[in-house]
C-alpha cells in the first residue's frame, strides 16, 4: 500500500513535468502527448490526460488553439503560456536538483533497466 502510494506520488509529479516539457517543444495534441509518453515508456491511458490538461489550462499554464482535423472534430492543440514557461523553468531546476539527489543516493547501486510498467 505504501509502495503504491509512493509510486503514485512519483508518477504524478513526473507525469505533469513531462507533459509540460512535451508541450514546450511544440504545439501538441493530446493523443500525440500519449504517443510521446508511450515512447518514453511512461504509460498512461488517454483518459488520464484530459483532466490533467484541463486543470493545467485552468491554472493558466497552458493555452490551446482549435485546429481543423481531417478525421473528426477540430482538435485542441496546446502550447505553454508565459506562466507555464515560468513554471517549467522552476520545475527544471527542481528536477535537476532531484535528479542529482537521486543520482547520489543511488550511487554504487546497480539498477537493472526494466520495461515493466510500474
Amino acid at each position: 500500500m505504501i509502495v503504491e502510494n509512493t509510486q503514485t506520488q512519483m508518477r504524478k509529479g513526473i507525469l505533469e513535468y513531462c507533459i509540460l516539457s512535451l508541450i514546450s517543444r511544440e504545439e501538441i495534441y493530446a493523443s500525440d502527448i500519449i504517443s510521446e509518453l508511450t515512447k518514453a515508456r511512461l504509460i498512461v491511458v488517454e483518459g488520464t490526460i484530459y483532466p490533467l490538461l484541463t486543470r493545467l489550462k485552468n491554472n493558466g499554464l497552458l493555452i490551446y488553439n482549435w485546429q481543423e482535423s481531417t478525421s473528426g472534430p477540430p482538435r485542441k492543440y496546446y502550447i505553454l503560456s508565459p506562466a507555464g514557461l515560468e513554471v517549467l523553468k522552476r520545475l527544471d531546476t527542481t528536477w535537476s536538483e532531484l535528479s542529482y539527489a537521486v543520482e547520489v543516493s543511488l550511487e554504487n547501486r546497480i539498477i537493472e533497466p526494466t520495461t515493466e510498467k510500474s
Binding site: T8, R11, K12, L15, A30, S31, V44, V45, E46, G47, T48, Y50, P51, L52, L53, T54, R55, N58, S69, S71, G72, P73, R75, K76
Partner: protein
Amino acid sequence: MNKTIIININGTVFHIEEDAYEVLRTYMTGVKRHFTYTTDSEEIVTDIENRLAEMFSERLKLDHKQVIIIDDVEFVTEKMGVVDDFDIDEEDQTIRLSTGAYKTEKKLFRDTEDSLVGGVCSGIGHYFGVEPKWIRLIAIITLFMGIGIPLYIILWLIIPKAKSRVDKMAMKGEPINIQNFKKNFDEEIEGLKSGLRTASKEAKPAINRLARFIGKAGMLFIKFIGAIIILTGVIGLFVLALGLITFLGYWNGNQLNTFPFNVVNPGYKSVLTLSAFTLIFIPITALVIFAIRVLFAHFEVSKTLYFGMLIIWLAGLGIGVYHISKIGSEFNEEAQFSVKSNLKRSKSFYLKLNPVQYLTKEDSMDYNIDPNNFKGRIILNSRRGEFNLPRNVSLKIEKADVGTPVLIQEFSAKGPDFQTALENAQRAKHRYIQTDSTLLFDGNTHLQKGELWRDQNVHLILRIPESTTLFIEGTLNRYLEDYSLWDCQPQNAKSDFLSEWIMTANGLKCKNDSLYNQKENSTERQ
C-alpha cells in the same frame, strides 16, 4: 443483420450497432459520473468525447466501414482507459470514493429470457432476489385460488420487458459500469456460442441452473403440448370435414333412426348439422392457430381472421339455437287417446315382458347387427326392447270394479298443435299378447321407420278383479308404477323370477309377504 443507431458525438454523426451503442453509452455514463465532482467536468467530458469521435472516424476510414461495431468501441475505450485508471491525476483521492462502481437500484422488469409464459415470475424473482421457481409456485397456488390468471395478465401488461442489456442488469441489480457490462456482454456471447442463452455457470449457484432448467423444460413441455395440439387439431379438422359430408348423406338418407337423431325434422337436418359442425370446427381451428402462434413466434395472424371466425361461430350458434327452439315448439301440445280391451278371464295371470325383439331383418341390417350374436347376447332373447327410443311404457295395476279384467292403453304424444300431436300418438304402436293366462307386454312403443320422436308414450292400466293371483316377472319392475317387485322376492332373485301377488280390496298385496319379510329380517339379524 444488426440494428444500428445513429448517434451524434459533438456534431459528428455515426452509425453504431445497438450492442456497441449500449457499451459506449455505459462507458460514457461512467466517465460522466467519474467527473461529476470535478471542476470543469463538462470540458473534460467534451474533450474525451471528441477524442472518441476522432478515433471512431479514424477506425472507420481505415477499415472502409460505415458502422461502428462492438470491437471498435472496445478498442477505443481501452485506449481511453477505464475510469478507475483516470485517478492518477486526481489531487483529491476522496473523489475516488464517490466514483467507480456505483450500485444501481434494482428495477422490476419481465425476464423474457427465463420465462415460461411472459417472464413475470422470473422478473419478480430477480427483484426480490428469489429463485423464479418459488414465485412460480406461488403463482400456481394463486391460480387455484382464482385470482392467478387476471393478476398475471395485469402484471404482464404493467411490467415492462427487459429489452436492453442495461435493463437486464438493472433487473438483476448488477452495478452498471463498463466492467460489468463487458462481463455481461461476454457472458451473453459465450452463452450464444455454447447454445445457451446465458452462461453463468460459475457465477451462479447450481440451484439457479436448476430453476433455469425447469424453466427450459417447461418451455419444451409447452412446445410439446403445442405440437400435439396442432397435430391432433389438424387431423381432427380433416376428419370433421370428411365426417360432415358422410354424416349429411347418411342422415338425410334416413339411415339414422335412433334417438336423438329422430327428433329432428327432416328439413332441419342439414342446417343443424352445419351449425354443429361450425360450432366444433371453428374453436378447433382457433386452437390450432393459437398453438402455431405460440410455437412459431413469427407466425402472424390478422385480427380480421379472428373476428371473422368469431362471427361465423356466433352465426352458427344462432342458427343452431333457432332451429333447436323450432324443434322445441313441436312439443308444445300434448294429445292423448285410450284403447280399452277386455281380457279373457282367468283365476291367475302371468305378467311378462315380451321377450321378442322387434328387429326386422331390415332393421338388423340397418344397425349392422348379427341377429344371433349381439355383444355376446342373443338378440331374440333380449328384453331391452328397441334401443332407439327413450323408455316410454308404464304399467299401473288397479282393482277392477267389474268381474272382467281390462287393459287400457293410453297413448300420448306431442306436437306443434293438438291435431298433429294426436296424429303422432295414433301412429305409435304398442302390443300386448294374451295366451290363456299369460300376458306379454312390449317394452316400447313402436314408431314407423322415419317417424319423428315426439315423446310418444303409452300408459298401460291393468284392471284386475279382486282375489286374482298375479305372477309378475322381475323385468317388469322398471315399468311398474306404485309397487316395487323387490318387496316380493327373495334377495338375489334373477330378473325372470315370478313374484306372486294377490289383488285385495285395498289393492295389490304380496302373497308371500311374511316369508320374504322374515327372510329380510333374518338377513338383517345376521
